[in-house]
Symmetry: C2
Amino acid sequence: MVSVLLIPQSLAYAMLAGLPPQVGLYASLLPLLFYAALGSSAFLGVGPVAVLALMIAQTLAQAGPGVSPTEAALVLAAEVGLIMALAALLRLDALASLLSRPVLHGFETGATLTIAASQLPILLGSPVQGSDLIELGRGLIDTGAAWHGPSAIYGLAAVALLLLARRLGVRLAPLLILLLAMLIAMGTDAVSAGVRVVGTLPPLQMMLSMPRLQADLWASLLPGALLVALMGYVSSLAVAESLGRRARLRVNPRHELRGLAAANLAAAFSGGMPVAASFSRSALMFDAGSRTRMSGVFVAIFMGLALLILATPLAWLPKSVLAASILVAVLSGLSFAPYWQAWRYAPAEAALMLAVTLLLMFWSIAAALGLGVLASIALLLQRTAKPHVALIGRVPETEHYRNVERHSVECLPEVMGLRIDESLLFINVRSLGDVVQAHLRQHPQTQRIVMMMSPVNAIDYSGLEALRELHDALARQGVRLDLSEVKGPVLDRLKAGGWERWFKGRVFLSHHQGMVDA
Amino acid sequence: MVSVLLIPQSLAYAMLAGLPPQVGLYASLLPLLFYAALGSSAFLGVGPVAVLALMIAQTLAQAGPGVSPTEAALVLAAEVGLIMALAALLRLDALASLLSRPVLHGFETGATLTIAASQLPILLGSPVQGSDLIELGRGLIDTGAAWHGPSAIYGLAAVALLLLARRLGVRLAPLLILLLAMLIAMGTDAVSAGVRVVGTLPPLQMMLSMPRLQADLWASLLPGALLVALMGYVSSLAVAESLGRRARLRVNPRHELRGLAAANLAAAFSGGMPVAASFSRSALMFDAGSRTRMSGVFVAIFMGLALLILATPLAWLPKSVLAASILVAVLSGLSFAPYWQAWRYAPAEAALMLAVTLLLMFWSIAAALGLGVLASIALLLQRTAKPHVALIGRVPETEHYRNVERHSVECLPEVMGLRIDESLLFINVRSLGDVVQAHLRQHPQTQRIVMMMSPVNAIDYSGLEALRELHDALARQGVRLDLSEVKGPVLDRLKAGGWERWFKGRVFLSHHQGMVDA
């Protein structure tokens, strides 16, 4: 059943990547087997995926002349596999958390729109080609937006049938529509009518070939390979986790990385292209009850048979029909809801999401991902940069202490309660002293300050020095500094660092104790 | 009094920067006046400083041939001034917090050792020159470690006298020793004995000259200018803040930046070099009771007079004596205590400190600062990357809840209390669900989870989505998610983001309430 979806998708995504369609089929055979052997999820449909296909198309454009895209794709798959294997060895799987949700959502939307735009000319039989919007726009101007009637009829009819089948929930439809299109094209001799078809497949000797060992080719593809590896890993992990949660199965990120590395290396040696887990096919395998990794083996065997049977009719498949299946598949996942939700919650992050989308559509995937990660980190640093220090007082007749600006609470004249609302890290400690001194200026009778440390999750070395400077400055002013509710791990570190040599105050288990005891 | 220290220092630091000594004097005149007019601190001794001098020397080495160091220094000062002015306009003063304490300590030590190493050959009359250790080492090998007796006698005698004077606390000593050396050199005709002296100063027409407008020169100096501006600003701010705290005076970072911008632009138009606040001179002004910015004006006027009087004898000052004054000044500030303290507190940060020192000594200042900042950010991200989620129970007969692993506390069978010990940010939310599910597997009877949010200082958009996914996953498992002690600002944001549309649990003011109420 999954093979039914896999065949049209693998043909289409290979075309999207600018490769001959059969490369997609090859990339669905051995990689699936190797993932089944080394991966951790039982239901992950590994093979060609749309977003990676777009990244592959942009990366292959970097390869010099004299190298066929097919050869470059093998090298790229080998690099992706090696990078993933190295990352698994070095336990770099945590780097995936650098991709924040705004970057991921922005990326998905931008990639979907770019993919759709790149398929539109093929759907309409226009000669325009390109893997980004600027190339496509230039092509559109050069050709005067020419299109080709018979091709467009095939394409638009396929779109209509696919949408209808989706509405009715007929799962076999994509494959049937493809077969139908092949038969009609064969019967009516579509090629002589000018319809561009997939064409004769080369024999199977591409299987078990070596990727070309050529240093400058490997070097030119390396930056793209890093991005493909990162995105392939993150998107596959997301699929594995969201399906895994439904079945209460745990996903081991490092094992996933290992399985994907094996799948990509397999693709590199069997005429394929870089692969990852597809959400639609994985969900199908999951729904079909796949809980052992043998399912992947069956899918691969079925694909191998299909490859032998389909070789001849595939030559007659109109490219506009393949474009139709890509368009329908990617546009069904398009959603603008995250932009609106992020805008309501945090406008800066919504702006980041939109920026990633626009950068991807009008510049490049590398720029969108790179700047997106940097901007995420900058936002995180900015968020932790201002230490929020709240003056707190006692909620009458309880032992709870709350911000005086938000609650009606009682304060003592000579003992000041402050709550440090942030970990003390280098990015924010510069102003710690200033903020405390500002509170002190407003309450000049203060003789003792009790700092509530329950929101302080960590103190780095810069924070330690700032705390010591604050302690010493207060001591010179005749004010004693006490702490309350210091977290266990934080206190352990302070003690290990020998703070008893300079810290003269007391540490209280509860803030209330600290306020009332002397 | 400050002038007494300023004259030898400004001569010496100009030489350290690879510039004629009088450039240092020029850089002490107008810049001081302009800082007095536009800065915010009354006691900041702005002028040439040792660490910047080293950075200037390394930057000037980047200028192409055909440009004299003096001219390049003017362009550099102009760029530093413009960068500071731009930063003040764009309110970028917060960028200074990117320099963590480990980076600053590592930088100071590395710079001090490099400065000392660069002055040692001059002190001994060796022809070796260089602004980094590798250059110096190569020179030492090339010359066979040659040295020059009479120069070395001047230098070593000056070191001995300076150390003695420092021990006795004679403040006038540096200037007197310089004058003495000049007189002896003049009387004994040191030049014919082969002692290298400062030499005849060019006339004062360098004053009020324009920095050369030449695009490639400006471009080649720009990276260095950015670093000089950053370091000049950070070190001056540190001086202003540490002295300001003693007098309970507030420092306005943006006004400091404006004052330093004016001082550097003044240096660029009056034959100077980039300037910043010197700790030793500022401390002297502070001790002398300077509390209005007129003090700076007096120092500048005195310097102008000294320049006119000293022009002739200055030509006879042996360079080895200047080197002696640099050596004694910088080595007195050398301290390895921070390495040891950081090692005890956080070995990773101690390693960072040492790496910055070594990079600075054996590679370049730019590499040391750049990699140091990146490593600081990586450590910060790593520190916040693992969400610490603690299972908490009630301290018997109180309303306090503590980690079950550290305290002997009571738990309920069907209500689980969890404390999220970290802000929910993109870098750590990926595993939030996993951690909660792991606790749930150990307590399968749980029907309700109360998450204590008091340590959660912020939730970004990725955190919001992760919280929603956790909430929905728990709902599917029949477990209700409640929150307690959510901070005011965090709750405000959640409400603004429309969370009531999906959040079905309750929010309690105190965790105890959340545990016992239904």
